[in-house]
Symmetry: C3
Subunit: 165 residues, 3 copies
């Protein structure tokens, strides 16, 4: 894939976890996701940890999309009552990319049947893409790697470079 306008491949990582936000559990997923993003060619420009509260998550995502073209969350995608990351993400997205979420579950399902319970979504806000990953370090990195190769192209399209390739 060649591009006439080089894409600023900037990313932010938002760890969503009550216990990590309280400092009771060290955040292993955030650093693992950050490393996977760097390996994929992204510069990680921001990292935050936040508790599982919907409105603060929305505000954090919105703020991070000002700094980075790809905002990746980890945690809060399950079915327990406190899991609200998908709801927060949907609230701040202009449109959803259903196929990206499907692909994460499809690839994830090859490793664990519980991938089907993940409610993570992917959406667009302005020129940024927001991607929800599960909370476990392995699950998060596997889900990210299932779709990361789509992201440079997606971000290019959002930049207005819609030339057919």
């Amino acid at each position: 894939m060649s591009s006439s306008t080089p894409e600023p491949l900037t990313a932010a990582v938002l760890t969503v976890s009550d216990s990590s936000a309280r400092g009771e559990r060290s955040d292993l997923s955030g650093p693992a996701v950050g490393e996977a993003l760097r390996l994929a060619g992204f510069e990680v420009v921001a990292k935050e940890i936040i508790s599982d509260d919907q409105v603060p998550i929305q505000q954090a995502i919105a703020r991070l999309t000002e700094k980075a073209r790809l905002v990746v969350t980890t945690g809060g995608t399950g079915i327990a009552k406190r899991d609200v990351t998908p709801e927060a993400t949907k609230a701040v997205c202009d449109r959803l990319l259903q196929g990206v979420a499907e692909k994460m579950r499809l690839e994830g399902g090859k490793k664990t049947r519980f991938a089907a319970l993940s409610r993570g979504i992917c959406g667009v806000r302005g020129q940024s893409v927001i991607l929800n990953l599960p909370g476990s370090p392995n699950g998060a990195v596997d889900s990210l790697n299932a779709v990361i190769d789509l992201m440079p192209h997606a971000l290019q399209l959002l930049s207005g470079n819609t030339k057919h390739q």
Copy 2:
């Protein structure tokens, strides 16, 4: 999978069919689904037959979630005008588990291409899971078996047992 709080694996079966509700056709799917649930370790605590009318279906689902942790419907997931089970289900769910519906269609598609026309959904209401199966006995049992192994874990998470496994 071990659990410190043993899960009450209770299920209810709701057959949605105009002809069965009128007594013109005997309900083969309800008993077939009930048997599959028992084989999977669930106790079937309630069975009902109802016609394809949205509001009564909603009321029946809501009532059955008071009695059972897993409420399984069969019928009304197609594309004909009278098929309204997914709409009724969505109306009484707190949140949807899109990946579970995807998995039913993905597995179903290995047997019949018409699985793609099923509009069945899966969602959560309180601490119960609601699962829409197609109306034919074979289709219903195949769809159930595609995802039943996720249900004990899902119900455990809904009980507040969110320990990572």
Copy 3:
């Protein structure tokens, strides 16, 4: 599959493209999709080209469902700002057939990973089915061919022929 009421297999093709609507680019996808529909046994009764504007697309789809039982769009399903075909489609559909869109992406994903970025949907309006295909001629024909064999059965169900087969 036999039918007591033979199905009128009529189709319309709506090309959604700013450059084709302005006459700056010749429409290759519309004719390619039309040919694929004919090969699948459909009679193509209408063809239109329209720019990527949501309300006019909605009006065109609604108008074409009066003439044809299957309305196929090509273009406007991507993630760029001007891509609004799925939004226009959703606005005029009574209900969505999520599994059909999933299947297009699943099959498309076997040829190109970018299939996951397609936001195309499939839905029902009255007795007609509306299907969003991507804008490239190959992508459009491949996506159509992934699901076209479901359409005669779907249209039959929408005609009120719900006899179990």
